[in-house]
Symmetry: D3
Subunit: 241 residues, 6 copies
């Protein structure tokens, strides 16, 4: 990756991008460019901890999540991010939202888009976002989808996050990326969501397991931590990789 | 790819490597290293044309196939090749053959192995070879599989040829490689098997179709011809590709 | 097929029915009956060539597509066709559109319906149309779905087009039909969409590949060109076919 | 079907062809030609009832099964049948057995071959036979597989029986055939295996269920009993069926 | 099961719960607690018999279905049931309906939820209901989905009915339950839908087939009738079962 | 589980049963009965560490593995175990070995059998053992498979270990068992294989991840560690579990 690599990340809820792709995002933030879109605060579906506080309000939940996000992106080195504040659980898309994302894609001109994969056995929002981003990426390349001032983008590569329970979500780790270099940053970002210690522990363990897989599949001993992704389209290139 | 890339190709029959991977093999022969093992002449299963000749003998069929192979590898620029002359249709493996291939792998120390994929709806030999090569590659890395003078190899990446009828063989084009640079060589190599003009036409059309897919998936306009492969293990690396 | 065979074709965009089923449609037009419904002009998603013209307007794009369709159906011998002019990219269905298609099915009383298959890795519109036609076909047989003047139809057989990239769309060629007899008509119809020469070349190659598969699976040497389809329901009949 | 239709049936055990295809076999015996190969008496794996008799011997079990087979084929109208008397549970194939079946196929020149499908969750013999018949059918067409006096056959269509527990054997009913015309014969043939009344009841119920599916998929009200099969290769023909 | 077991059943149409789960529902009604929600009368899609009556009206169809339901639940011993009277064929969900089901789940606090499985090859309503119930069950556990007076529920186990044509709906019988004890009640409940004798016969045959599978998989001879279900999540417990 | 529960474990190599099922085995050893068959020492394929010692011999490797096994079974509380000392990498079965396992099954009369699942992307031995145990379990129930002094067994339930890389081995966690009670014993048993610290770490992390899944799927907060398995046949019983 280099300064011509643009990674667009689309995250359904406040912390998805950290658990599922924080290590890779930090690498791209360091060596290339990252644009991050967070579609919701996850106020309804992924803030159980905050709602356990007596007298909690939606406004306060969003505020708390906002602060955590601000802290987490800082740890990852991401400066270009937007929170679209859609309602979650469940999330519904429409033409206006589609146009907004198409514009974003045409603006960023990503080489790679990272978002949720097509199936998540416990999270309908993630499935909706996956379909939404895929469709927007297709529309973004079509000359007939006219959006004033936004010229068409070249087809980006699409990659999907590993869901929380991979096998029952039919996830296959097609792309396993070494994150040894930025694992500490990921850990720091995870710690910004302090009310969810079980998840910090969980995704720490997973990074080690994927590191083991990375070593076994490649024979490279130095890979210690890794993240796994699925890809939407075949790899196209000039040689075996 | 560069001079440190070693591609080991294992082909079940005389011409499989040409139809299914000739373009990529020519690229590796040009820029890197290629070792080719042809397990059989395909005398029983893939020489219908020759057997139509009155008074044909097995010896003559093999001789004819041998000459075609010699001519085809020359067109592809491959100089390191072996023909193991196993009986085909159907092909059976045993411990001795397994040891032989393990030794070959340990000798070549391939970064990449290219052979048949796990399923071929019309060709049981191809399925047997796929399993054979996969197992040999696993054994080649194990220190306890003692073969005098042959030190263990690092786990190679494995890739599978596209079978003749892809969908009913459950083939997925996970890796599509541009062969525009060497397509003329592939065509020349295919023409060495002159008795099978329908296959030359067939694989010519397929190279164009895969070229179209390569352009559509990547947005790269200059890809004109391509070959598709499946991969046995996930991609492992440092960034999205 | 004979004069009692009614084929209803539902095409998402202007040219889908030509690329994907032109040969078979021409056969049914010649020996049986064809009714064709084109849901959109593909003005937004499949008219990149036309939008490259300076000062282009939606109205002009539709006009150009309309002329091409008129010419193409003539080449295929289809006289009964309708263009419903829905917006494409992306296409959304509703109750009113559902009722319209149910009425159409009850009117045509098709023995066979040909439309898009359930998955298309690059084309969400095709997936939406597949679901739409399937549901309409179910509703068309139900006596409780009251539509004044439109008596229920018998369950039609449903068949799906081959998508552009078959394997990554999970397409299986369950039904391969010989189109040698009408291939010239298909070629003429494809040539009506002159701004897309790469597609004409692509679908020409594909017809030859499917012809090869047809010969291999059946042993019939005279099949030169073919089209492949998926089927929605099992084959039911009196003997092996 | 007519007098040019040759159906070759290969049954792993004594009664498989009756439970799984008796109705269709009786139709072909009536209107076309049937050749039946029974590979084993099922003496070890499918004769629990007989082994419950005090002092039972292998010889007696085979004798009892032989008489039942003789009676059953008479009920189905099959006169050309052979029992190869291989050991069952489990059944192993070798080159000699392969040659024997290839010869049989070249002799019969079947238009259709009916045998076990590729997976059976409770019966490894059925899986072995499926692979065996498929490979023999491929070899039978190859000119290089020289067997004195047996000229190559044209590629036959292959169909697979429905296994006892269909879903966990990944069976899909791709071809559902009406057997109303010969259902009484099937029932009579099933009654020849009097020691297995639970199976007679079971396959009677199944014929009615498949009859219901046949009516629902086709809209043909007169189908009362049916049998379901899987197909090994795509359908190839001239029109939708 | 005991008095702490709460089974919530959600049925798309009037009689689905009887055909597909009547035996199990009767067991839970006898030994534990059952709450039944019937989403529609099936007036449009599953009342062909009633619409064949000259001058039939929607009101009358619903009235007839209502009486049949009342009689059937009595036979099964179910006293807690609701009919939500949504339009069927096709059924569409929205936020208000989602809230209603979330409230119901939070009220019932089911240990187990039984509804339609994710795919039904001939019935889009069943697929819509499956998704609807799954999403509601997820929302019911989330503290941030605020519904006055309805505290969150613990995650219930979800099970899916066997669809009418199981294999083409990708159904796997993951859970097979013995219903010998209550089969007579199921039969009596099926007989309440007297206008559909072919279905009574069909589901009677199926109960016997699943009884055979239950015996074969478990070795328990006393299982005579059974019903099969799919499960949405893995089994979690303390020992093999 | 209770004293009538007999668990038969069949492990391909020396330590498989510890990494993949040690927690559950310890529970059965404590509350029920366990019989353990270890088919090989894994001397060739899973002893890389030992072979790194200068002048190592096969005999010494086996001796070292033997001591580790003895220590590990002690930690798990297993007293009934056998080591069959077959050659590994790769492992081949034959009739004699099949008879031996059938006898073992008939002797133990297991209610549950635990062994390798059908697919393992990196370990052909595991696949061979899975097929071997499945077939033996089928033969063990058949009255016609005569083995002097060994009466037939009732069909046992079969469960498969989670392979090292689950997703690319198509593993689904169908049965997740809580091992909180015996996790310390598992850890102690893992520590007996001191030369493989990376595996101890790996399977420790995995037990925590599966514990998280167990909590999420069941809502039971007290599950801390778990092991996942696949099941070969459907669950059969009297109620939802």
């Amino acid at each position: 990756m280099d300064k011509n690599s643009n990674l667009l990340v689309v995250s359904a809820h406040a912390a998805d991008f950290v658990w599922r792709g924080g290590g890779v995002i930090a690498k791209y933030a360091k060596h290339a460019n990252v644009s991050l879109v967070i579609l919701s605060y996850g106020a309804r579906g992924e803030s159980n901890d905050l709602w356990n506080i007596e007298g909690q309000t939606l406004e306060n939940v969003k505020k708390a999540r906002h602060e955590e996000i601000e802290e987490a992106v800082k740890q990852l080195g991401v400066t270009d991010y937007e929170i679209w504040d859609y309602e979650d659980y469940h999330m519904e898309m429409n033409s206006e939202r589609m146009d907004r994302l198409v514009k974003k894609i045409r603006e960023v001109k990503p080489t790679d888009i990272l978002t949720h994969g097509p199936k998540d056995a416990f999270n309908p929002d993630h499935e909706a976002v996956s379909k939404f981003v895929f469709e927007a990426s297709v529309l973004s390349t079509s000359n007939g989808v006219r959006l004033d001032g936004y010229a068409t983008a070249k087809q980006a590569r699409l990659f999907g996050f590993e869901p929380h329970q991979s096998e029952i979500s039919d996830f296959k780790p097609e792309v396993i990326l070494d994150i040894t270099e930025t694992y500490e940053q990921k850990e720091a970002a995870m710690n910004c969501f302090a009310a969810q210690p079980h998840l910090i522990d969980y995704y720490g363990s997973r990074a080690k397991l994927r590191g083991n897989h990375a070593r076994r599949c490649s024979g490279e001993k130095e890979y210690r931590y890794a993240e796994a992704f699925t890809r939407f389209f075949p790899y196209v290139g000039g040689e075996f990789i």
